[in-house]
Amino acid sequence: MGNALLEMRSITKEFPGVRALSDVSLVVESGQIHAICGENGAGKSTLMKVLSGVHPHGTYSGEIVYQGQECRFGDIRASEHAGIVIIHQELALVPGMSITENIFLGNEPRRWGRIDWKAANHRAIELMNLVGLREDPDTLVKDIGVGKQQLVEIAKAFAKDVKLLILDEPTAALNENDSRHLLDLLRGFKERGITSIMISHKLNEVEAVADAITILRDGRTIETITVAGGDVDEDRIVRGMVGRDLQSRFPEHEPNIGEVFFEVRDWTVRHPISAERLVCKNSRFTVRRGEIVGFAGLMGAGRTELAMSVFGRSYGVHLGGKIFKDGREVDIRTVADAIRNGLAYVSEDRKAIGLNLLDDIKTSVVAAKLSKITRRGVLDEAAQYHEAESYRRSLRIKTPTVDEPVTRLSGGNQQKVVLAKWMFTDPDLLILDEPTRGIDVGAKYEIYGIIQRLADEGRGVVLISSELPELIGLCDRIYTVAEGTITGEVARRDADPELLMKRMTSTRSNA
């Protein structure tokens, strides 16, 4: 070893208003498994997009040296041509095509201008053996489990003569067995001289397979640790990932916590499509009046699924579990039931499922409870305007008038509109799913203030966030979630990033 296959030197990438990467360097030795760790939003995916040409040369500064030469990839095809293949978290397979067809999609072996299916099938079987996939190559991809689909993706990479394989969260959607198989496979590739970069949140896996670990935080390289030295443990990685000061990013707040009024018991939900995958397993949590309860967990841990399934069963298939409110069991089967029972859910992705982007501000604000502005069956436009206007003032939504379309607003102000929409329903319990994602620091501070005000009004707040400092700074109590189960409960005074990260990354229950 000792010769670098890939060297990325002081990469800086800016998006309008945000600097996603600043001066990031990454050196990957030939024949290694190199892990990249960091919190959500630390810049891992952006870095890989720069490498694979999704962000083409010229849109970033810095240089990429690959196999001893400087590379300027204009698109993905160029990087694939050089043997760099990236496998994204969302698999890029066509479900209705067979395994063979998927492996050779866009890369079909041809003979006299026709696709040579005989050769393709032959080669597909070879590649499937290589990745340990035992299936009929004519099986449709939608008929095999997600673990095997992952293997098809890898086989597809090998069909392209891969030299550097990049895996983005390869085990996030896999069960334990499939994960273990995949990690073994990576070790096998290493022996064959193939270099891999693996982005992962699962630190135990990283520790187990990686030769070197680069930690990113806030778009910067923190350090690169060589595992061979033996001085690596999860704590050190976690410290690198989260270490930053937490001062004065949150408004001062004195909580005023009442009795438990909301409780979910034995909540079990399965995936909407694959029947054997449980996204929530016997989850139980409580919320007190005036309390801000955090849900900490990594991407894919099942926090959103839990929240949405509680909110009128709007995700997955409900298998069991009860909801109690003010000591009585409530039957919530639809979103309308949930709203009637005083629940509100501010969704993670406000553009895709939180707002109708064709609406203006005033119609968005009243959308979840039109009955409040309906007089004798007729919508009262003046009342709608007044309601929207009062939220514009109290939440300080920056807009000339509430007649403006929501698309004209910045992310932070859009988020305030979504908050207003749910505050308008006068809920007892607000579930906020990543309420500050993609929002600048100033707007975050304001939204923190709003969240605290809601709690002070005697409502319960559930805050789902991937930013640990945010949870620690705001929450009175934090549940950790991993693989669909609540793995722990941490009171405010005990909460520190390392402890949380540990429980988020382990599936053993520490509760």
Binding site: S347, A352, I353, N356, D360, T374, V378, L379, E381, Y385
Partner: protein, 431 residues
């Protein structure tokens, strides 16, 4: 510059109107003026206006229902066949079972509701795309029409013909005009004036919202009253025995009722919510399936009504009734500013869109254009209108006028909106 933008924003329908509708009204005016000149004044004669109303009332009724279907994000290809099917059922019932004609109308509406519910069931509860369900319905009910009617025409009784070919009766003193039509015009003027006043009042209650400048209200009122007075005199002053057609009255009532429903009720707003972002609507407590079901059922009822009016006008139900009506209705809705992806569009816009197509068709026929060229011109017009809209959307704007005034916008003082938000243009482009 700001005066023109005020005008654009406020002249028609206040803030909820979208600019394409505004552009389309000018297109309509231009087409009318052009044909008025090209036909030496034939276009705006009493006789032609009355015929135009009777000829296109049923298409416009369809386009009201179609607007709601399209806003919800669906399409209905079956309306022509459904109309024909209901027509033959009603005609047969009256001819062979001596059903009195008012009962026949009720029967027709009920059959339409049933058919709509059938299609709505497949769309909303089974999840078959409306395109497929109504394509099947198109074949199904066309065949049904020919099966029941033995592919023959069935005449309808005199009383029934009123809804398609009837006029407001003569009444009261001899004025040289049809008195009831005059009265109707007068009522309409009063209603328009009242509504203008009312909307200004509501607007002024909203502190902070700038009501439209007075001159705009006055101008808008003057234009609308002028159009109404002119139309009233034309409709009232036709050949003795003719006046404003009954089918036009039915259409007018429906336009008012459905405009109100879509704009001012929770049910109407739910349709827009479903079409704009179905998942967001669902997570806001809107019952997706019910909305989709009702929209399709409603379309069935309106298709039935349109079919009966057509049968009444042509005095008999036949196997070729309603051919390609769905395309006329869909074209009217899209020309009137609805978005192909759903969530946008207005009833009044669709009526204007229908009028544009009707006047174009009528004018071309009056100047003696052959049916071949009429179709070619209509086709190009439809493509052009929607292409312009798509182009505008790609630029992140919804307006024609907006694109014309864009160059001047920079001179405007910056809006008080503070943070340099990512421009809508940019975010759309990135998608």
């Amino acid at each position: 510059m700001s005066r023109i933008r005020d005008l654009q924003k406020n002249l028609f329908g206040g803030t909820t109107s979208n600019a394409r509708q505004f552009g389309m009204i000018f297109t309509l005016l231009a087409i009318i003026v052009y044909f008025q000149i090209a036909t030496n004044g034939l276009t705006l004669t009493s006789g032609n206006l009355i015929a135009l109303t009777q000829q296109y009332a049923y298409i416009s009724i369809l386009s009201i229902g179609m607007l709601m279907v399209i806003v919800a994000g669906h399409i209905d290809l079956s309306v022509g066949s459904v109309a024909a099917f209901v027509g033959i059922v009603v005609a047969k019932a009256m001819q062979e079972y001596d059903v009195p004609w008012p009962a026949g109308i009720v029967l027709g509406l009920a059959v339409g509701a049933l058919i709509g519910a059938w299609q709505g069931f497949w769309v909303a509860y089974i999840g078959v795309p409306a395109f497929i369900v109504t394509l099947a319905g198109m074949l199904l009910f066309r065949g049904g029409n020919q099966y029941i009617g033995n592919a023959d025409t069935v005449p309808v009784p005199q009383g029934f013909r009123t809804i398609g070919a009837g006029y407001l009766p003569e009444f009261g003193p001899e004025t040289g005009y049809n008195n009831l039509t005059l009265l109707l015009g007068l009522l309409l003027c009063a209603a328009v004036a009242w509504r203008e006043w009312q909307s200004r009042r509501v607007r002024s209650q909203m502190e902070g919202a700038e009501p439209a400048p007075v001159w705009i209200s006055v101008l808008r009122l003057a234009i609308m009253l002028g159009v109404i007075v002119f139309a009233t005199l034309r409709f009232a002053g036709g050949r003795v025995g003719t006046s404003f057609p009954v089918s036009g009255i039915i259409l007018a009532i429906l336009v008012i009722a459905y405009s109100f429903y879509t704009r001012n009720t929770a049910g109407g707003r739910h349709i827009y919510a479903v079409g704009g972002n179905a998942r967001a609507a669902e997570l806001s407590g809107v019952q997706l399936r019910r909305v989709n079901f009702l929209v399709m059922t409603n379309m069935g009822v309106l298709a039935a009504l349109a079919g009966m009016i057509f049968v009444a006008r042509s005095t008999a139900s036949g196997p070729q009734d309603g051919l390609s009506w769905e395309l006329d209705a869909i074209a009217a809705v899209f020309i009137g500013g609805a978005a192909v992806s759903g969530g946008l569009g207005t009833v009044s816009g669709s009526i204007v869109g229908g009028l544009v197509m009707a006047v174009l068709n009528n004018g071309l026929q009056l100047i003696g254009t052959g049916a071949d060229m009429v179709q070619i011109i209509k086709g190009l017009f439809l493509l052009g209108a929607v292409a312009l809209d798509v182009y505008n959307k790609k630029q992140g704007r919804f307006s024609i006028i907006g694109s014309l005034t864009r160059r001047f916008r920079r001179e405007d003082p910056p809006a008080p909106a503070a943070p340099p938000a990512p421009s809508p243009t940019g975010s759309l482009a990135r998608k």
